[in-house]
Symmetry: C2
Subunit: 674 residues, 2 copies
């Protein structure tokens, strides 16, 4: 019986995101998947801007950004007074200025390949390699409840079964047809039948794990093994949708735009232009009915789906020579009431929430689940974080799942509905309403507007008389520093070499907490002395109390100045200063406390931690203080969690240092005596 810190079941985007965290943090991890095959076409394809920011924090965002098709414009097509479709309006697909990225599409298989590359690149002699073990499925899972409170125990016992390649290949995939029906919710899970079929005939292995995470999809075996209270709750509608990935040959003018096309009588199509000249079409199948709960799956063919699309797009012509993939699904919205059992077994991704794919949310919310869980699990395994922090996973992510289901119900309904003929047509869907819903939901669907609840990780602090959460969220203010929300990215200029940096590039996903000191106008001696007093306190009182974290060598993908210090004095707390004085007025070695340019006997001073909110020579002015909503005179102090969310916002003044102290005390274990 072998031991492992973390056992991940399922190697889709959620499982691989988690494995990447573990690789970066150097945690002993196994990841198994019952399927033999990687995904080569189809499946999920949407990347929301927050997801791209997260991928970028691991250094793989730019690979996606380069290969993906960027969705810049959405157009809305509706019937005119004669019932013929016409373009009713155009809008940006992503609200300008909420992120440096825009919504993009690329097929899931490439994303998985990028994860595998990044996991491999994170391997170092100090860290055990992590490789996906395919054709392996769990067949039993037991939690030793007497051991769950023992930090050093391995309380989860799992039996793993080694399948042959045949057994691990989904039967519907044995044909040559590139369809995704076998992963669709129209098809029952084959897990039970595989288990039954292979009973007694396969090699098995017992594994003891400190933590197990089920990233094993909508039919999650891990979820089922946890008992009936983990069942998904929710409903299905009767609507059946088909999906085609084709290279279209069409005179429809907006085929390279994201479009919502509502026909008068033939239903709705959503057009998603993809990479490599592909276009994905989501088409409502009016011909297939599920009323009564049962229908004939063989009714659904790519021809049927395609003909529906042709009807909707009339009078424009539509044909194709090349089809890449197709599937169909029934709209169902469900989520689990529990995301964790005893904070030892966790569920993530489709295993705890399913919904319709048209808003491009699935892969994103799934990866963001394990992005939220990963650093917590990893730092607990390394003895750095207090295990109580693990309970924030369910707290933070269950709400997102609920919000997602609520959004999807509203969105799908409007999407599937018949367009209203006029203002008196109450059973039809008003197209203005759809366009507005599309815009209003964008802060949620892009995930930049997500805000985590108050907890040990997100202290609500009064600052200037109001908390961040009292602000009304709007595209104009969504990037402000608010507790519970992501630390947005603005450009600031390095004090010592004049290079402008995206602030998020100074915060790679390496497991470290960041204390960002917005120093304000430090050309004012009084303000400078406050900032230096804080630096003195941080370096003499705060940092010495907390542990160091040995980092994987690939963990700082964006810092051209490789941070040697993280190898030598890898404090779990990184200190950055962003000031608002003129760059020429500050000589850092002379003016600033050494906390802001730590000295190393072999490497000299670190010039990579002080930034100016000012004009750069070639890339303009980042206007970071304005964007973050920070007062230029007084500044502020912000604690950023390892996942880039803001844990605390407070003032530079000595009176507020205790809040910083208290925050870290609740989260990070004190350094072990040496």
């Amino acid at each position: 019986m072998s031991e492992v810190d973390v056992l991940i079941v399922g190697a889709g985007p959620a499982g691989l995101m988690l494995a990447l965290w573990m690789a970066r943090l150097g945690v002993k991890t196994r990841i198994v998947d019952k399927r033999t095959d990687k995904i080569f076409s189809g499946q999920a394809d949407g990347f929301q801007v927050r997801t791209l920011e997260i991928l970028d924090s691991f250094g793989i965002g730019e690979r996606v950004w380069k290969e993906a098709n960027h969705l810049l414009e959405v157009s809305f097509w509706n019937p005119d007074e004669n019932g013929q479709i016409r373009r009713d309006g155009r809008a940006p697909d992503t609200i300008p200025n909420i992120s440096r990225f825009t919504e993009s599409v690329m097929h899931q298989g490439r994303m998985e390949a990028f994860f595998l590359d990044a996991i491999k690149a994170s391997t170092s002699p100090k860290h055990p390699p992590i490789q996906v073990e395919r054709c392996i499925m769990p067949t039993s899972l037991d939690i030793r409840e007497d051991l769950v409170d023992d930090e050093n125990a391995y309380p989860v016992e799992v039996t793993l079964r080694y399948l042959s390649e045949d057994e691990a290949t989904p039967t519907s995939r044995l044909s040559n047809l590139q369809d995704g029906l076998f992963r669709s919710n129209l098809t029952a899970s084959d897990t039970e039948s595989i288990i039954e079929k292979t009973n007694g005939s396969c090699k098995e292995e017992k594994v003891k794990a400190r933590y197990v995470v089920g990233c094993d999809g909508a039919h999650s075996w891990v979820r089922k093994s946890l008992g009936p209270e983990f069942a998904m709750v929710g409903e299905s509608t009767d609507a059946i949708w088909g999906v085609l990935d084709i290279i279209p040959i069409t005179d429809f003018p907006d085929i390279r735009n994201r479009c919502v096309v509502h026909s008068a009588e033939s239903g709705t199509v959503m057009v998603i232009p993809r990479e490599n000249r592909l276009v994905r079409l989501y088409i409502q199948l009016k011909e297939v009915s599920t009323e009564g709960g049962r229908f004939d799956r063989s009714q659904i063919t790519p021809e049927l789906i395609f003909e529906s699309a042709q009807k909707i797009l009339r009078p424009y012509s539509l044909r194709y020579h090349y089809i890449d993939w197709w599937t169909a699904y029934q709209i169902g919205q469900r989520s689990g009431n529990h995301f964790s059992k005893l904070d030892r077994v966790f569920l993530a991704g489709d295993a705890v929430h399913t919904h319709s794919p048209k808003a491009g949310q699935g892969m994103n919310v799934s990866m963001q689940d394990t992005y939220n869980l990963g650093w917590k699990l990893g730092l607990v395994c390394k003895g750095i974080l207090r295990p109580e922090v693990l309970s924030t996973y369910e707290l933070e992510r269950k709400q997102i799942a609920k919000d997602l289901i609520a959004f999807d119900q509203k969105f799908s309904k409007m999407f599937s509905g018949r367009p209203a003929k006029d203002i008196l047509d109450e059973t039809g869907v008003s197209m203005n309403e759809l366009q507005n819903a599309f815009k209003l939901s964008h802060l949620f669907t892009s995930a930049v507007g997500i805000s985590y609840q108050p907890s040990v990780l997100t202290h609500e602090q009064q600052i200037n008389g109001h908390t961040g959460h009292n602000d009304v969220l709007s595209p104009e203010t969504v990037n402000r520093c608010r507790v519970g929300m992501r630390f947005a990215s603005y450009k600031a200029v390095n004090q010592s070499d004049a290079r402008p940096w995206e602030m998020q590039h100074q915060m790679p996903s390496d497991g470290r907490f960041r204390v960002v000191v917005f120093g304000g106008d430090i050309s004012d001696p009084a303000q400078l002395s406050k900032v230096n007093a804080l630096g003195d306190w941080v370096s003499k009182k705060l940092l010495p109390r907390y542990p160091r974290i040995p980092l994987s060598p690939a963990s700082s993908p964006h810092t051209g100045l490789l941070r040697f210090t993280t190898e030598q004095d890898p404090s779990v707390i990184d200190v950055l200063l962003v000031h608002a004085a003129k760059r020429e007025d500050i000589e850092p070695l002379r003016d600033l406390h050494e906390a802001y340019h730590p000295f190393d006997e072999k490497l000299g001073w670190d010039y990579g931690k002080v930034f100016v909110d000012g004009e750069s020579y070639h890339e303009g002015h980042g206007r970071a203080y304005e964007g973050y909503g920070i007062d230029k005179k007084e500044g502020a102090v912000v604690i950023v969690r390892p996942d880039g969310y803001i844990g605390l916002k407070t003032r530079v003044d000595e009176a507020d240092w205790a809040q910083i102290d208290r925050w870290f005390e609740g989260v990070v274990k004190p350094r072990a005596p040496e």
Copy 2:
């Protein structure tokens, strides 16, 4: 005896750039190098902005851009009235707005690694792989003059000798010292002694080549084999300079800026901050004299060089723990009078020009030599280009070498000179003069201001009453479309999907010519009809006359919309339209000739060729017409060569089509009858 189209001698940056072209174009090529070892530290490190543009056209610019240290600011330190150094001024290191890149530094070994990766990635089943063959040197080279005019012949016969690893390792490298003296001009060539030592004892091979290119450095064996008229011409000064790559520990405030520090009495240092906390120091060695022509090489040690730097930087402290590399050199400026023999053997890089390294020119001019030569050689080998075009290599690049030597003489002299005490001190160098020279030379050193002479490839055309070359070059106008100069990059918005693109990203180095139609305001029906008439002529008359070019699959690194057409109808001429109407006013399939959205039976229309000079949703307005200096009403037609230089600029009007015709007739062979 084996046959090869192109034999490259020397696998430094010049040789590898050439090999990359050959790999992309699918030309049978061998590249040999006498050294066993790659470069792991030191050597050249400067990347000028034009070089970055070129590397980006092969899809490897972003790797350099990410790893390199960007030089943003230069500061000038001079003695004050008491003889103590003080910062006299700061300036941007790269003039703003001349390119999307800025000068950057990264060591040569990484560049070579990126080339090797890109060459490997260009391999396809259709193309023979190209691999560097190390420990191989030529020992004889003969040109069969009777065969040089036969396009199908292999007139160059070369003997290659296979060395053992010991023989291929430079003797001074057998110590553990990471120094570059063995490559310095202070050390004599070891080529002759290796040849003599290994006579008779090594395996040899005879190769017949259509073309041979000597990229084998300052001691070029290929150059020597061509005879005495190929000898380098020029002078050496007496000044000896030392170079150190260290991680400095210093309180000198500008150690992360590029600096020129002139001390009152102790000489000059240039500071070049590098990647990974390294800093390169160029230091004038006053203690070592070469007067009389001879000096003792053992005098030069890293300690001596370092102590000189310490003196110059006083009163600031300077020490180090880690030294990466060091070398020394004597300033010598020489170039060859001939860059080619019979257009069958060519010389490039250090083999035909050497100079001082302080302006960061060497690696750049060398790579730009073979970037200029590569497409010509490759397309001639493929039977696409007229062989006469090969003579433009010497025409275009010899002038650059001469200009470089002239610049370097002036720059080095000012740099080595004693700073003037006051305005009456005529033997001293005025510091204002130095700063001005630094700025004025930037259009040359950045290479964006380079202009190739009139030839079959660069037709001087009268447009609006004056030729491009009559303009005075300035940073404000250097990016205008001018015959002989590079096609600069501005952003324009894709008509069909609203995505903004750098125009250079639509022009990857894939061997194709581009006809860029600046259509002007095509919402004016008269202008639209001119543009469509041109499209009709291009697709019916121009394109059918010229051949197709099968491209390597990796040849379009930046086009998210993979251009399937290049596989199916890979015309050697690519047509792009950039118009100045409002994007919403144009429906491309309805309004524009099919030349601008070619139709393919299997893939439908190509949406990747029409661009708008307009506002994008997220990245502002590119103001391309303004930047290119094109009239928004009338537009213009520009022919861009495969290396991104402008071959012709003319009007959209029918009257000027004959100029386009004539240009291609002089350069490209007509399509072979099918």
